[in-house]
């Protein structure tokens, strides 16, 4: 069955991020001089403007800061998952991203600890989503 959800628009900055998802790795740019880890990807460190950046493998763990639940279908590929959640996740390395948490919507809460899981999409990439960590897992 073909994948019907929106696929990312790959550009020069985010290509390594999506390439890494094929190997089920979550990566982000890290600034070599100042250590800032940031997302979404860009040409320079937003803190010190250095272009000396490397792609760092992240722990894949983070904390839910906020979330919403979509009740309106905007993308046909999500129609059979209604209602679905999207959460703002602060990764342990400091960067933030939006993603889906694979959990019943009514169990979401602020400060929920989560860990990345990869949902298959195409042969080229997979979609990083998150699942709750149980207490003791970090």
């Amino acid at each position: 069955m073909s994948y019907t959800k929106p696929l990312p628009a790959i550009d020069n900055w985010n290509r390594p991020f999506w390439d890494a998802t094929r190997e089920q790795r979550l990566v982000a740019q890290a600034c070599e001089p100042c250590g800032t880890v940031f997302f979404p990807p860009g040409p320079v460190c937003p803190h010190c403007l250095s272009a000396k950046l490397s792609w760092k493998q992240l722990s894949g763990r983070g904390t839910v800061e906020s979330w919403v639940v979509f009740h309106q279908v905007y993308y046909k590929g999500f129609a059979d998952e209604m209602p679905y959640n999207v959460a703002m996740i602060r990764l342990d390395e400091g960067a933030r991203m939006l993603s889906n948490v694979v959990v019943p919507n009514d169990s979401l809460h602020a400060d929920m600890r989560v860990e990345v899981v990869f949902a298959p999409a195409t042969e080229e990439l997979s979609i990083p989503k998150f699942r709750p960590l149980t207490p003791g897992e970090g």
Binding site: E65, S66, V68, L98
Partner: protein, 374 residues
């Protein structure tokens, strides 16, 4: 070098025009914009030959607009991106042009035919589309949820915003939505992006607004009592703009910065403000604006609005035309027009008593505020 206080009452609105609001597929943003402009010129007692500056928003081509109306004496012009954050920016650009002698009389024209061309806010490609995240409403829902988690704000409290503005719209014959609703009705309305419901979302309609601005000295001999720009300020926040705003900030720092400048600029404080016009694209923005501008303590916007302070007859009548939630989606422009009409005392049943000073507040990545006084 001009500081904030030297801008005080140096420029003013001398004409306002607001078109009909609704669904008008037989025209477009040019037709509606010209309808509003003719009303504004008539209101000001001016003709198009008096206009030497033109600021255009959401109308596709500023060139085509000037051509359509046969503008002959134009020396200044600007086209702004079609977003609500540009409302006060347009007034600021006109003020600067007038104060530096680039123009003597500026027409500001906003036209929107989003309803009849079925503008759909959400579902476009975007950086978060792979996760299904889209639409301005969802961005505000994300902020609203965080505000709820941090401060205990509730959906019922948000309901008071729309309920109050709808009661105001019931007194405004030009408003699109005029049937009052209760908190129970708000709670029964469906979620669009939870925690925001249908009645937390602005309406979408066609319409246009035009404003005529000039300098205070030129306004002396004109038809209308001038409505002065007593102060104007903006502050931009693009950190984390991929998410629209830093999640714990709600533009608080930007609004505090603006608050420190506009009250000093106008030589007033919050207690001198007779009415507010708050950019209400979604109900939570009203809470963020009240908190950031210092009308209530940080985090207490929900409690504040549920106490009823924003209603006509109370301490801070807000969005007396019904705002974006009920009157029209004119992206801030109709709120500025309403501010002018309030300080002129032209608002009939919805007139704020003894109204001298109205403040416009817009909480967005470009946050802004204007103090308008008679």
């Amino acid at each position: 070098m001009i500081d904030d206080t030297q801008m005080r009452d140096a420029t003013c609105f001398v004409g306002v025009g607001t078109s009909r609001y609704g669904n008008f597929p037989e025209t477009d943003s040019y037709g509606l914009g010209i309808e509003a402009l003719k009303m504004a010129l008539d209101d000001a007692g001016l003709t198009k030959d008096d206009i030497d500056g033109m600021i255009v928003c959401r109308i596709p081509s500023y060139e085509r607009l000037s051509e359509m109306i046969g503008l002959k004496n134009q020396r200044y012009g600007l086209a702004l991106q079609s977003s609500g954050r540009m409302s006060a920016v347009s007034v600021m650009m006109a003020t600067v042009a007038l104060m530096t002698g680039q123009a003597k009389c500026v027409a500001l024209v906003y036209g929107n035919n989003g309803r009849s061309v079925r503008d759909y806010y959400g579902g476009a490609p975007g950086p978060w589309a792979p996760w299904g995240f889209t639409s301005p409403g969802a961005r505000h829902a994300l902020m609203a949820r965080r505000h709820m988690e941090l401060y205990g704000t509730t959906s019922e409290q948000l309901g008071h915003v729309g309920m109050t503005f709808r009661n105001h719209a019931a007194l405004n014959p030009n408003a699109v939505m005029r049937k009052p609703f209760s908190i129970a009705d708000h709670q029964a309305s469906r979620y669009i992006t939870e925690p925001l419901r249908l009645l937390d979302y602005c309406i979408i309609n066609d319409g246009a607004v035009a404003l005529i601005m000039t300098t205070a000295d030129r306004a002396k001999d004109m038809k209308q009592k001038p409505a002065y720009v007593s102060a104007i300020a903006r502050a931009d926040t693009y950190e984390d703009s991929s998410f629209y705003t830093p999640p714990n900030d709600f533009w608080y720092d930007a609004l505090q910065d603006i608050s420190g400048r506009v009250y000093k600029g106008a030589g007033i404080s919050q207690s001198d403000v007779d009415g507010l016009m708050i950019y209400d694209n979604f109900s939570p923005t009203v809470l963020f604006s009240l908190e950031g501008m210092g009308f209530c303590p940080r985090g207490e916007g929900g409690r504040f609005v549920s106490e009823g302070h924003l209603a006509l007859g109370r301490r801070l009548p807000t969005n007396t035309n019904g705002g974006h939630l009920s009157e029209s989606y004119m992206q801030g422009w109709a709120l500025i027009a309403e501010a002018v009409r309030q300080v002129r005392g032209e608002c009939g049943e919805r007139q704020i008593k003894d109204c001298e000073i109205v403040q416009y507040i817009c909480a967005t990545p470009i946050s802004s505020s204007i103090i308008i006084r008679r």
